[in-house]
Symmetry: C2
Subunit: 417 residues, 2 copies
């Protein structure tokens, strides 16, 4: 069978399975998730054996240590995949919930009922645990899913997908509800992205290159985020200890992630009191500061920032700092350079807190809290499948609800127009 | 200036205007809408004079009577554009509404706040009133909008856009909040569809050709519906008078629209009692029936349906009829041929009503009511900008709320991770 036929058959089979998925009871879905969790633990040595094949090949090809680390399924990876599934089983099922009901003057009762999206394609890179995480979330939300992992992880992904298939079969659910593209060929991605008749949504997970490629090629709607250039603005009159803790946490706690702070904006009047102590703490944590001319006047040891620094996602212990004349200038800077991901203000002023919240156009806007809270788990959505920085369908962390949509249900007793 | 520069400048100006639009008070937006309405009436003769130019050219080019009718701005068109704007001004402003609020264990208060999408591009065909209708809805929802109408309506659209621009200027709002592409050149559409940095959503309004073209070319998310192949299923034991009224209404009241019934499915046991009387009423209304073999056995005068009839959107006084053995067969037929637009069941059975609602995967599913109710106004959303048959972002009629999204607002008192 050609790759073209393989992909088309997978998409058609997913569409058929999605019909059964849509009417599946929550308890049944949870049973499947728990069974997959148990089987991952029971078959850990087989899974790790298959993973070893991928690792051998990766070493042979001379992949970087970082790549090999991401590819490795450790005992901890096994436990975490199983635990994550058990957590997803605990989450409330969004499907069937009635979002709203109202009655029309002619007696029609109208409501919006939450339903699965249908078929979701997930395209990801080297971490094999995404196979389980993505499958679990899409499945719980009542969708069929087609997974396309990195070619260097095919044996690992296949072993995990086999576990899922066995669990589906043993529980009497359609095996095609979760499918993995079984070939390394790159054409498979293009083919997947053109199955607009059968796939309702594409979620790419990986670096900016992968995401741009998918957006460029896809005929199917894509939920994505490119990058997080997150700002913290420290307002005049802010509590300086609080500002210090929030900025330190936002930059240092995990610098390599999308919700870490990349640019710090500081009000001119508070900068001389705030920046030196803050800079000392950053220096201890080996954070490199690149500042505007005014910052440099206060902190003469630092590097000067260039125009490029304001739009750089460092994902590292580097921080751009800019002193601003007022909040309006801070908001204007954010409007110019932000990636619409996460911005925070540290302030004691009620009016400015309100204005910042109203005017900053990012998926998560925080007052007096770290940018690191832009995360489905932290915000109470349960597990997340990603963070959307475009506004259609979902904006911000995407949990189970974002993997569903609503249809209108209209109950009448013979109404006509 | 080249077309390329024109379109890019328009998109950039729209993005800038959208910032001001997002923080504009409801009362201000309503003031603008009411002023546009008044000005359309006051400047009716100028608008109709410009429309006359388009009509002269259309007659010269030999456009069809139907095209010319769509293009004509009558006195009634003027009144209806003004009245529609006054109605939109009455609708509740979705922007700023808090959809949900919850508190996290660490004291963070999380909420989802409704915000405008930003910049919306509307691409439409010959009816000039879309200029006003689309602009009014997008504007009320706090968005900037770029309009691209049919080239044959450019003078009419320009006259209407000038009225809007004057109203914006007189009320101190940014003129670039509503812009019309000022050139006939077809390249302008392609260029518009590649401004993904500055335009957040594209809404095509027109025939299937236009919509497919836009989906194919756009790098920006598109909200669309292709067609409505709407089904009514008459269940065994249904109230026959009710079924007769609903089917007649769904087919005959306005056959040329997307929510009209195209296929009637009838339970085998009720078909002999239901179909003859129904067929007589349809015959009086000059509806042509194309039936399956079993229908033909009951109604020997009719044409036989071919496979193509089940997926045809007639938009005319033609109806495909199929007799089915049970509801499962009806649902399977719908799954195969439906366009996910609108389906209805006429039944007296509680269980089957529930099952139909649960299992039919269309944007509006009705029990004992006409398919003609799939309409924003009829369902109580106020005016609508279209009906989406794809599931991302919006599924079904799209009102003001569907022209917005939500961001997360997080209020803390120093929380860090």
């Amino acid at each position: 069978m050609s790759i073209e036929e393989t992909i088309r058959e997978m998409a058609e089979a997913a569409r058929a399975a999605s019909v059964e998925m849509a009417r599946c009871a929550s308890s049944k879905k949870d049973e499947v998730l728990l069974r997959i969790a148990d089987k991952i633990e029971a078959e850990a040595s087989h899974i790790q054996g298959e993973n070893e094949k991928d690792l051998d090949y990766a070493r042979e090809k001379g992949l970087s240590d970082a790549m090999i680390e991401r590819l490795t399924i450790t005992d901890a990876t096994i436990t975490s995949m199983a635990d994550d599934l058990r957590e997803v089983a605990q989450l409330e099922d969004p499907v069937g919930a009635i979002a709203k009901t109202w009655r029309r003057p002619n007696g029609l009762e109208v409501s919006r009922m939450r339903i699965p999206l249908g078929v979701i394609g997930v395209i990801y890179e080297s971490r094999p645990n995404v196979t389980i995480d993505a499958a679990g979330l899409c499945f719980k939300a009542g969708n069929a899913v087609i997974l396309r992992g990195g070619s260097e992880a095919l044996n690992s992904n296949q072993a995990l997908a086999d576990v899922v298939r066995d669990a589906l079969r043993e529980t009497g659910m359609p095996e095609k509800a979760v499918q993995l593209v079984p070939v390394r060929d790159r054409d498979a991605v293009d083919l997947l992205l053109s199955q607009e008749e059968h796939i309702d949504l594409i979620i790419p997970r990986g670096g900016e290159g992968l995401i741009r490629f998918v957006v460029e090629k896809s005929k199917i709607p894509v939920l994505k985020h490119y990058k997080g250039i997150c700002h913290v603005y420290v307002d005049n009159g802010a509590n300086l200890d609080m500002a210090n803790d929030i900025c330190f946490n936002a930059k240092v706690q995990r610098p390599g992630v999308c919700n870490a702070m990349e640019t710090l904006l500081v009000h001119r009047l508070i900068a001389p009191a705030f920046l030196p102590e803050m800079a000392d703490r950053f220096a201890e944590a080996e954070v490199e500061i690149r500042g505007c001319a005014e910052t440099w006047r206060i902190l003469p040891r630092i590097k000067e920032a260039t125009e490029e620094d304001w739009s750089e996602e460092y994902l590292d212990l580097i921080l751009a700092v800019k002193v601003v004349n007022n909040m309006t200038e801070a908001i204007r800077h954010i409007q110019t350079y932000s990636s619409n991901h996460t911005e925070a203000i540290v302030t004691s002023d009620y009016e400015r807190a309100r204005q910042f919240v109203r005017e900053v156009d990012s998926s998560v806007v925080l007052v007096n809290a770290s940018t690191r809270f832009n995360d489905g788990g932290q915000l109470g959505l349960g597990a997340e499948i990603g963070i959307s920085t475009s506004k259609l369908h979902a904006f911000g962390p995407m949990g189970l609800e974002e993997l569903t949509t609503t249809k209108f249900v209209v109950l009448g007793d013979g109404q006509i127009r």
